[in-house]
């Protein structure tokens, strides 16, 4: 019953197709595993064959499976922390149901979604193995290994989510802390992913010393046992006996791990579901210090200064907002470290900052309008309220994003070899101007298509949509202008590349500013019509 309830909650957004959702999902997964995955991996098969017999094979597969394993632990945790629901725990506690059954029910209710994720990942990995000539027994073992490993991960995630959710649900700021953690916890995994994609990790693992360190460090994890089996079978296709003992040991270990995790989880559940308040604290506000007095001053000191200061306080006291900033800065730094070319010129720095870093920052700072429509109605009730609302949100967005962008730009630019002070200052000024423009654009987009949901999931979706739009716009505009030959390089052929790119980007910044103002104007009209 609990599992069915959980399934209904999970599929409430698609309840119209709920009756045939599972058949649809099975069909799509079958198409992916049978047709799409083999087609995707086909171009890489020769490289894979060469790679699988190298020193780097085991540690790299270990790392890849570790990333998936960890993501699958994080998924239920992040999902739960985003929207803590203590009221539901109360329903369960009031009913004659054992906490372990509640936990198991929730796990089983989400199982269809976990199964889809497991099938996709497993299907992709087995697609690499099929052309190698593995026999059916080997394929079956690989599938079983992956299923057990990932089910363990999801189960651990569900248990940790239940414990964390209950603990955080007891404290006043629990929801806020949960939402903040849900954002932050994925950052280390993104770092590992970027390191694999562009950080030269495979090359580093070719070194026997490095390879051994990684194998030893990750060796204790069940994902690494699966990796050992995977590489052993791939190296000995059709010959299960060659690695029989090793397979038996690792598979047995994996099974034991899964059963132990299940047992521990059900024991922990009895302690996890409790609504006893551990401590009762209420946060208080201190009198305005220098910072908020400055904010008030920036807002003109009078009523608008007060409004700005209030909006700023509400923003900065939410850990979730701060976690988004940390996330944005973290992603930008990780991209710069692992993805982009480190030996680049200042000119590449400009392109990277303009097309990636600043849009990400802008989207995470002003990507949504407000929590709940009722907040908007406070402003709608007051004289010229909508304009006041948008002006304060815009100024608040600028005040948050511009200093962070400037600092980020300064750090990233200083890291370049032989950078001059002039280039550094130019980058900072230009970057700040671009940030002003893009914050305006993103806020305009956010108010044109406002999302007032209290729930993080919907608000995050809004942020993601606005981020995509502004990313494509910045990249698209840049490429578009270059394609039609609109560049200062043509008007002023004697100036250097850095200056040309800088002028081009300043022109684009002006274009974005105008677009942003237009979007804000349209958005205000839209907000005024909302009922």
């Amino acid at each position: 019953m609990i599992a069915r309830n959980q399934y209904r909650i999970s599929t409430s957004a698609i309840r119209r197709i709920r009756a045939y959702f599972l058949y649809l999902a099975i069909g799509l997964v079958a198409v992916y595993v049978g047709l799409i995955a083999p087609a995707i991996v086909n171009p890489f098969i020769d490289d894979f064959l060469a790679f699988i017999i190298t020193q780097a094979a085991v540690p790299l597969v270990q790392i890849m499976l570790f990333v998936f394993f960890f993501f699958m632990i994080l998924f239920p945790i992040s999902d739960t922390l985003r929207e803590l629901q203590t009221a539901q725990i109360e329903i369960f506690l009031a009913s004659p149901v054992k906490p372990s059954d509640v936990l198991l029910g929730e796990f089983l209710g989400k199982m269809p979604f976990y199964a889809i994720a497991i099938a996709v990942v497993t299907g992709t990995f087995t697609a690499f193995l099929t052309p190698l000539g593995l026999d059916l027994a080997q394929i079956a073992i690989i599938i079983a290994v992956f299923v057990i490993m990932f089910l363990s991960a999801f189960w651990i995630g569900v248990v940790v989510a239940a414990v964390l959710g209950t603990k955080l649900g007891k404290i006043a700021r629990g929801k806020d802390v949960g939402r903040a953690l849900a954002v932050i916890i994925v950052l280390p995994m993104i770092g590992v992913l970027y390191a694999i994609i562009g950080g030269g990790l495979p090359e580093a693992l070719a070194n026997p010393g490095t390879s051994q360190v990684v194998r030893t460090a990750l060796g204790v994890l069940p994902s690494s046992w699966s990796a050992e089996i995977f590489v052993a079978f791939a190296s000995n296709p059709g010959d299960i006996g060659a690695v029989g003992f090793q397979t038996l040991t690792l598979f047995g270990g994996l099974l034991t791990f899964f059963i132990t995790a299940l047992w521990v989880g059900t024991k922990v559940a009895n302690r996890a579901y409790s609504l006893d308040t551990s401590k009762f604290t209420s946060s208080t506000a201190k009198p305005d210090g220098f910072f908020y007095r400055t904010i008030r001053f920036v807002g003109g000191g009078r009523s608008f200064g007060s409004l700005l200061s209030s909006i700023f306080k509400d923003y900065s006291r939410r850990l979730e907002n701060l976690s988004w900033i940390i996330y944005a800065v973290g992603v930008v730094v990780l991209m710069r470290v692992f993805i982009s070319d480190y030996s680049s010129e200042p000119v590449d720095q400009l392109v990277f900052l303009s097309e990636m870093a600043i849009p990400i920052l802008a989207a995470f700072v002003v990507g949504t309008v407000s929590r709940g429509k009722n907040i908007l109605f406070i402003f709608k009730k007051s004289p010229s309220g909508i304009w006041k609302f948008v002006k304060t949100r815009l100024l608040q967005g600028w005040l948050v994003a511009v200093p962070i962008a400037a600092a980020l730009i300064a750090v990233l630019t200083i890291l370049l070899p032989q950078i001059s002070l002039v280039s550094l200052l130019i980058n900072m000024v230009w970057g700040s101007l671009r940030t002003l423009a893009l914050v305006t654009v993103v806020l305009g987009l956010a108010i044109i298509n406002p999302i007032f949901a209290e729930e993080s999931r919907e608000r995050n979706m809004g942020i993601a949509i606005n981020l995509m739009v502004v990313l494509f716009a910045t990249i698209g505009f840049g490429i578009g202008l270059r394609r039609i030959g609109l560049s200062f390089g043509k008007l002023l052929p004697n100036i250097n590349t850095f200056t040309v790119i800088l002028y081009d980007h300043l022109l684009l910044t002006m274009v974005f500013s105008l677009v942003g103002i237009l979007l804000i104007y349209i958005g205000v009209r839209k907000l005024e019509r909302i009922e």
């Binding site: 208080t284 009523s303 200064g305 409004l307 209030s310 429509k373 009730k381 309220g385």
Partner: protein, 255 residues
Amino acid sequence: MKVVIDTDKLSKFYGQGGEVKAIDELDLQVYEGETFGLLGPNGAGKTTTVRLLNCIIKPTNGSAYVNGYDILRNETKVKRATGLLAESPGLYEKLSAYEFLEFMAALYDVQNDIVHERIDGLLKLFGLYDRRDYLLEGYSRGMKQKILIASALIHDPPILFLDEPTSTLDPRAALMVKDLIKTLSDTAGKTIFICSHILPIVEELCDRIGVINQGRLIALGTVDEILALTKTKTLEEAFIAITGGAEEKELLAWR
């Protein structure tokens, strides 16, 4: 007596072709200094009426004047003349009570030199002065309601709209709000427009009441006039008689 709220065939329709008539040709006059109660079942159109009269939404047809100002042409003046406690009010939970009132004062351009004195006065009046620096997220529902009523009064408007002012309050807080409404009406000369389901409160506080159902005003007058009209003894009976209600037998038919 001076009419401060005057509606003329005020209508608000929703949906394609306006098939949902939230308010249908509402004709209503509320007098200065009067406490007026608007009663009606859920979905009758009470909140829509309040939102129309506060210029939060625009009418489909008809017109209305609040404190002498046209709700369509003098939006800003209407908003300055009214204070609103909404049924589902927005609240910045990360602000303290003091900071939230300061924010509301800024929204209505209350002069800086009187803001602090007024906020302190309101916090003392509502018994929240000692908790003024606590963030609103830690407040109980009743305490939040008090802050919201205080915020509706922050710019000292002559007309106050209270949409379900006591529905979430404990008896003690409800009594306090009731007394406050009386004081505001009797001594401060405010015009108060109350929407409520709690009939005893409306009965005790309001000089006149209107009953609205499915967007139409179906009864208007003093409590005695309504009782006489419906030939009932209590306002509850009158309300059921006017709006229609299930008999006890029907309610328990499933047993």
